[in-house]
C-alpha cells in the first residue's frame, strides 16, 4: 500500500515545482504593475491578481483542461494543472513580493538615489537583495501550500499522490489507512521544509537594514 501512495510522489513534486517556476515568472510583471505609479498598469495588475485569487483552483484547472482547445488539441492533464496552479501562484507570489519590497526601509531608496544610483542599479544592488531575504519565509510557506494544492491536480487525472491513493482505496477497500498514509506524507514533507525556511530566515534577516 505504501508503494501505491509513494508512486504518486514524483508527479506531486513535479507539478509543485513546475507550477512554482511558472508562478515566479508570472509574478514578476504583476509585481511591476502593482508597484507602478501609472494608473493603467496598476489597475490591470490589481484586476488580474484579484481575479486569479478570487476563483478556486479547481475551477481554473477545469477551464484549462475541459474548456481550452487550441485547434483540435487539448492541454494534457499535467499541462492544464501546472498552467492553472502556476497562474494562481503568480498572483499570490506577487502579493508576497510586494509586501517584501515595501518592507525595505525608505532610507535605502533615498541613500541609493543620493549616491547617484540609476533606477536599475538601485533595484539590482540595493532593493532586490534585501527584499528577497524578507520574502523567503513567505515564499517557502507558499511553496508548502502549493505542495498541498497540487493534490487538486488529481481531479483532472494527474496521477499524483491523492490520485494514486484514491485508486488504491477503490481497488483494495482499505480506504481509511491509505488516506492516513497520504496525509502523513504531506505532513512529513512540509515540516522539514518549514524548519529549513525558519533557519534560512534567521540567517538572512541579519543582513537587512531596519
Amino acid at each position: 500500500m505504501l508503494q501505491a501512495v509513494l508512486s504518486g510522489i514524483p508527479l506531486t513534486l513535479g507539478v509543485t515545482f513546475v507550477a512554482l517556476v511558472i508562478g515566479t515568472a508570472v509574478s514578476m510583471p504583476l509585481l511591476a504593475g502593482t508597484l507602478s505609479k501609472h494608473r493603467i498598469p496598476w489597475l490591470i495588475s490589481r484586476g488580474v491578481i484579484d481575479l486569479l485569487r478570487g476563483v478556486p483552483i479547481v475551477v481554473w484547472l477545469f477551464i484549462f483542461y475541459y474548456g481550452v482547445t487550441i485547434g483540435p488539441t487539448k492541454l494534457s492533464p499535467f499541462g492544464a494543472a501546472v498552467l492553472g496552479l502556476g497562474l494562481v501562484s503568480g498572483a499570490y507570489l506577487a502579493e508576497i513580493f510586494r509586501g517584501a519590497v515595501s518592507s525595505v526601509a525608505a532610507g535605502q531608496y533615498e541613500a541609493g538615489r543620493a549616491l547617484g544610483f540609476t533606477n536599475v542599479d538601485l533595484w539590482r544592488a540595493v532593493i532586490a537583495p534585501q527584499a528577497w531575504r524578507v520574502a523567503i519565509p513567505g515564499y517557502t510557506t507558499y511553496g508548502i501550500g502549493l505542495l498541498k494544492d497540487s493534490s487538486i491536480a488529481s481531479t483532472i487525472g494527474v496521477a499524483e499522490m491523492v490520485f494514486a491513493s484514491g485508486n488504491y482505496a477503490r481497488t483494495s477497500g482499505e480506504g481509511i489507512t491509505v488516506f492516513m498514509v497520504a496525509a502523513a506524507v504531506y505532513i512529513l514533507v512540509s515540516v522539514p521544509v518549514g524548519l529549513l525556511s525558519r533557519m534560512a530566515d534567521e540567517r538572512l534577516s541579519r543582513t537587512v537594514a531596519q
Partner: protein, 217 residues
C-alpha cells in the same frame, strides 16, 4: 450571444449549488471557530497531554490538504464502519481544517495582546477567567479578525473541492451540467464568475476591516 442565453439557462442550477457552497462554508465556520478558540488555548496549555493533543490536531489539520481530508472522511471512514452523508463528511473535514488554521490565527492574536493588559486586570483583582473573558479574548479576536476573514474567503473557495465527495455544491452543479450539455467553457467560466463575485468583494472587506482596526491598536 450564445454565452448569455446559455448563462440564463444554467444560472438557476448554479445558484442552487451556490446555496449549498455557502451552507457548507457557514457550517464549517460555525463548528470550526469555537473549536479553534479551544485549540488556541490548548496549544499553549501547561498541561502536557492537552498541549500535545492540541498541537497534533492543529498540525494534521494544517499539514494535510483539504482534499485528502474530504476523501478520508467520505471514502475512508466507511471502510472502518462509519458512513456519513456527503454533506456531513464534507462538514467534518472542513471543520477540522478551519479549526486548525483559525487556531493559529487566534493564537497569534491572543499572544499579541500586550502583557500590561493582563497585569492591569490582575492588579484590579479580576479572576483569571474574567481576565480571559473580558480582556484577552475580545482584544485577541480583534487582532485576529482580518486573518480570520481572509480564511473564510479561502474556505468558501475550498468548498469547491467538496464536489469530489458528491456534495451538490456550485462546482458539482457546473460539472454535471457541463457533461450533459458539453458546454464546458460556458459553465466553468460562469461558475468561476460566481465564485469571484463573492470572493473578491469579501477580500476587499477584510482589507478594509484590517485598516479600520489598525487605528485602535
Amino acid at each position: 450571444m450564445t454565452f448569455f442565453t446559455d448563462a440564463v439557462q444554467f444560472l438557476p442550477a448554479l445558484l442552487g449549488g451556490l446555496r449549498v457552497s455557502l451552507a457548507l462554508t457557514g457550517l464549517s465556520l460555525l463548528f470550526g471557530l469555537p473549536l479553534a478558540t479551544l485549540l488556541s488555548f490548548g496549544t499553549r496549555s501547561a498541561n502536557k497531554p492537552v498541549r500535545w493533543v492540541s498541537i497534533a490536531f492543529v498540525e494534521v489539520g494544517r499539514g494535510a490538504p483539504a482534499l485528502v481530508m474530504l476523501q478520508f472522511m467520505y471514502f475512508g471512514l466507511p471502510t472502518a464502519g462509519l458512513t456519513l452523508s456527503a454533506l456531513a463528511s464534507a462538514t467534518l473535514a472542513l471543520t477540522w481544517t478551519t479549526a486548525a488554521y483559525c487556531a493559529e490565527y487566534l493564537r497569534g492574536g491572543l499572544s499579541a495582546v500586550p502583557r500590561g493588559e493582563v497585569e492591569g486586570s490582575m492588579a484590579l483583582g479580576m479572576t483569571r477567567w474574567d481576565t480571559l473573558r473580558y480582556i484577552v479574548i475580545p482584544q485577541g479576536w480583534r487582532i485576529a479578525l482580518p486573518s480570520l476573514m481572509g480564511f473564510a474567503v479561502i474556505l468558501f473557495q475550498m468548498t469547491s473541492l467538496a464536489y469530489t465527495v458528491a456534495v451538490p455544491e456550485l462546482m458539482s452543479q457546473a460539472y454535471t451540467n457541463a457533461t450533459m450539455s458539453f458546454k464546458y467553457m460556458t459553465l466553468f467560466v460562469l461558475a468561476g464568475s460566481i465564485y469571484a463575485s463573492i470572493s473578491i468583494p469579501a477580500t476587499w472587506l477584510s482589507v478594509l476591516v484590517e485598516k479600520r482596526l489598525a487605528r485602535h491598536l
